[in-house]
């Protein structure tokens, strides 16, 4: 598009009024903002001694977990839709025939590379059985790269750890179970 394009409307800058030319009123209004923050309550916390407050844990995108069904089995059906949706390619699943008669397929192994993950939440959205969810756990640390690749047991243990504080989203958000 050229500057001469008729679809462009050119606006002239407004001429400065008296208050702007005096400079002082704007100076005072700027300083007022600074002063207000000096006296308002602090939002900074001294992490990790202090825990930051998560606004709504149900929509926070932290560490993943793999949910369990009513019988304590992994809910995942190994459909690979999370791995397909994942833009960072951090999910690796090995599917196998399930050992239970009422299910056809289950994940023999399920790995998430938490270092590769960008915490976009696409896996959670793609999941047809609400098996993978992002919790509000935000401090994710480890001593090695290997440690940060979470396997199925680890992801299930995250569920066990967080299920009381954060119930499964399908029920908590009022969707069908």
């Amino acid at each position: 598009m050229k500057p001469s394009d008729p679809s462009i409307t050119w606006l002239e800058e407004k001429p400065l009024g008296l208050a702007e030319r005096l400079y002082l009123p704007l100076f005072v209004s700027g300083l007022t903002t600074t002063a207000r923050h000096l006296v308002s309550p602090k939002v900074t916390v001294s992490f990790p001694d202090q825990r930051p407050k998560v606004g709504n844990p149900l929509i926070y995108r932290g560490v993943h977990r793999l949910n369990r069904d009513a019988e304590g089995r992994v809910k995942c059906v190994a459909c690979f839709l999370c791995a397909t949706a994942c833009p960072a390619h951090c999910i690796d699943i090995v599917a196998a025939e399930s050992p239970w008669p009422d299910r056809e397929k289950y994940p023999e192994s399920f790995h998430i590379d938490e270092l590769r993950c960008i915490f976009c939440g696409m896996c959670e959205e793609a999941c047809p059985v609400d098996a993978i969810e992002l919790t509000s756990l935000l401090d994710l640390t480890g001593k090695s790269r290997e440690e940060m690749i979470f396997d199925k047991e680890k992801l299930l243990s995250v569920y066990d750890m967080t299920k009381d504080a954060e119930p499964m989203k399908s029920t908590a958000l009022g969707c069908d179970p």
Binding site: V77, A78, C79, F80, L81, T84, A95, A96, E97, D102, E104, K105, P128, V129
Partner: protein
């Protein structure tokens, strides 16, 4: 020439062609959806998905008379003046109703169904179905039935197109599958004690338009949308069936037949279909090595000489030097090699020893040719390129020399060094036969796996598997097919072509197409290989006659 009118578009068809409406419409670029019809099977017109409007144009007056009701496109032959309407409201409504009827009790388990992504029911539902489900049934599970050693049937996913049943009756001729019960209770089943166990059984999985028949070898292994496919040729036997190698990250997941009217039509045998597992066998030889020459590498005391690994860049130079120093050379050109590789190997051999004895490598044969009523034959000769190698040997004046001639030549002490190319997926030589090569100064063996011959070798080179090669194979009927490399060989393995290319001192990356053009211009018998080859290949004999 007869003219068919497809949605107002006039299409000329051959005077002797017998096409149905689906095939005629396809010529006009219109796809009529269908489940039960398959070009290789008889017509039953049972799925009703291909219902279309037809009519006839009067040749004299040009007046069109339409048939008042919808007719199945698969069962309606076209002739001069046939009018086909594939996109009228009547046709669209009919397709939506067929889709709805099929989906009334079809389990909605697409996330765990292996067919999802290549399922006709899914595709047609999005193209022709209606967005909502009026039935109150919400089935999610499918019963599973073991119908044979290679195939699992998911009973409730079946839409009763009976393609699989017709295949076992018409093509494999074994008739294991049948339809039991009637109406809405119809199911595919086998007779007790007669499982689906023929050598073409895997084809029913390809034929199944939905996820009812699952391939046990592939079941749950990978979602189909992750797979990349490369047009390839099966190396299992000398039939040279056209296949698609479906792979992801240099791992093969399955082989599928590729339609080729000149070779395998739509089918491949189970031996070929499941014959790729050796590519990922842990026992494969992955390193070029030779018997240690320096005194610092002493044997380990058990009688086997110590070996030293050799970098490929050094193999190119040292192998030539060693063979040159040894003297008279004998070379076995394996029928697993492509025409290009065989031609380059012969050139390399003759550049080392201008009198080199060239012969066809070992040709593995198992049993007899096995033919099926549908016109499919599994060949007894378990190598893909005997004809091609023979043609190449003829160029180098070694026509008709077989493996036995080579063994006799070596046993008679007429050679000081031998270079045996192999690359066979199965064990091929026993200790007694290998003994003939024991006294040589240099023995180069290029193979996929360890063998008694490999243990005698002074140079041990890894070979490439069939999907890791690029080049041309000539099948038993002189049909040449060119193909590209589907996956990279394991780390540390150079495909034979790359080694020969570098030993010939040629620059850049190995380019099989350039070699093929060179062969075509240098040899009248292989002249048909020149230019761009069609994906279905060329018949070498036809071009010689022309």
């Amino acid at each position: 020439m007869p003219v068919v009118i497809v949605d107002g578009q006039e299409i000329e068809i051959g005077a002797d062609e017998r096409l149905n409406c689906i095939e005629a419409a396809r010529r006009a670029g219109k796809e009529i959806p269908h489940y039960c019809w398959h070009p290789g099977l008889s017509v039953v017109a049972s799925c009703r998905m291909c219902l279309i409007e037809t009519g006839q144009r009067d040749a004299a007056t040009g007046k069109i008379t339409m048939v008042p009701k919808l007719v199945p496109g698969c069962q309606t032959p076209v002739k001069d003046g046939t009018v086909i309407v594939t996109e009228s409201q009547l046709v669209k409504d009919s397709r939506a109703r067929v889709e709805e009827a099929l989906l009334i009790d079809h389990p909605i388990d697409c996330p765990i169904c292996d067919k999802a992504g290549e399922c006709l029911l899914q595709d047609y539902h999005f193209q022709h179905g209606q967005p909502e489900r009026r039935a109150d049934l919400q089935p999610f599970h499918s019963r599973k039935r073991d119908v044979g050693p290679t195939v699992t049937l998911f009973v409730d996913r079946c839409i009763m197109c009976t393609r699989c049943v017709r295949f076992t009756r018409e093509i494999s001729g074994t008739a294991e599958l049948m339809v039991t019960s009637r109406g809405a209770k119809e199911e595919i089943d086998v007779f007790p004690g007669h499982p689906l166990a023929n050598k073409l059984s895997g084809n029913v999985v390809d034929l199944c338009p939905v996820g009812a028949l699952g391939d046990k070898d592939f079941l749950y292994q990978q979602r189909v949308w992750f797979l990349k496919r490369e047009a390839n040729v099966c190396g299992g036997c000398s039939a040279g069936c056209s296949i698609h190698t479906e792979h992801n990250q240099d791992a093969v997941y399955r082989l599928k037949p590729r339609e080729n009217p000149h070779v395998n039509k739509w089918w491949i045998c189970d031996d070929g279909r499941y014959g790729w597992h050796h590519l990922h066998d842990q026992a494969r030889i992955l390193e070029a090595s030779r018997t240690a020459a320096s005194p610092t590498h002493r044997g380990n005391g058990s009688g086997t000489p110590a070996t030293e690994a050799v970098e490929w860049a050094d193999v190119v130079v040292k192998l030539r030097d060693d063979l040159k120093a040894a003297g008279r050379l004998a070379v076995a050109v394996s029928p697993m090699l492509t025409v290009e590789e065989a031609w380059m190997l012969c050139a390399v051999a003759r550049s080392i020893d201008s009198e080199a004895f060239l012969a066809l490598g070992f040709v593995p044969v198992t049993g007899d040719d096995e033919s099926f009523p549908g016109g499919f034959t599994i060949r007894a000769e378990k190598c893909p390129n005997r004809k091609g190698v023979e043609e190449v040997l003829a160029i180098y004046g070694a026509a008709g020399r077989s493996w036995d001639d080579l063994v006799a030549h070596v046993a008679a002490g007429k050679a000081d060094a031998a270079w045996i190319t192999a690359g066979y997926p199965a064990a091929w030589i026993d200790t007694a036969s290998a003994e003939a090569f024991a006294g040589l100064r240099q023995l180069v063996v290029q193979d996929l796996f360890d063998s008694p011959l490999m243990r005698l070798a002074s140079w041990r080179l890894p070979a490439a598997g069939f999907a890791e090669r690029a080049g041309t194979w000539v099948n038993v009927a002189h049909h040449a097919q060119s193909f590209r490399q589907a996956i990279r060989p394991p780390a540390g393995v150079w495909p034979e072509g790359r080694l020969f290319w570098n030993m010939l001192g040629r620059r850049g990356l190995y380019d099989p197409t350039a070699v093929r053009q060179q062969i075509a211009t240098s040899s009248p018998t292989l002249a048909a290989l020149g230019g761009e080859l069609p994906s279905t290949g060329v018949d070498l004999r036809l071009h010689q006659l022309a």
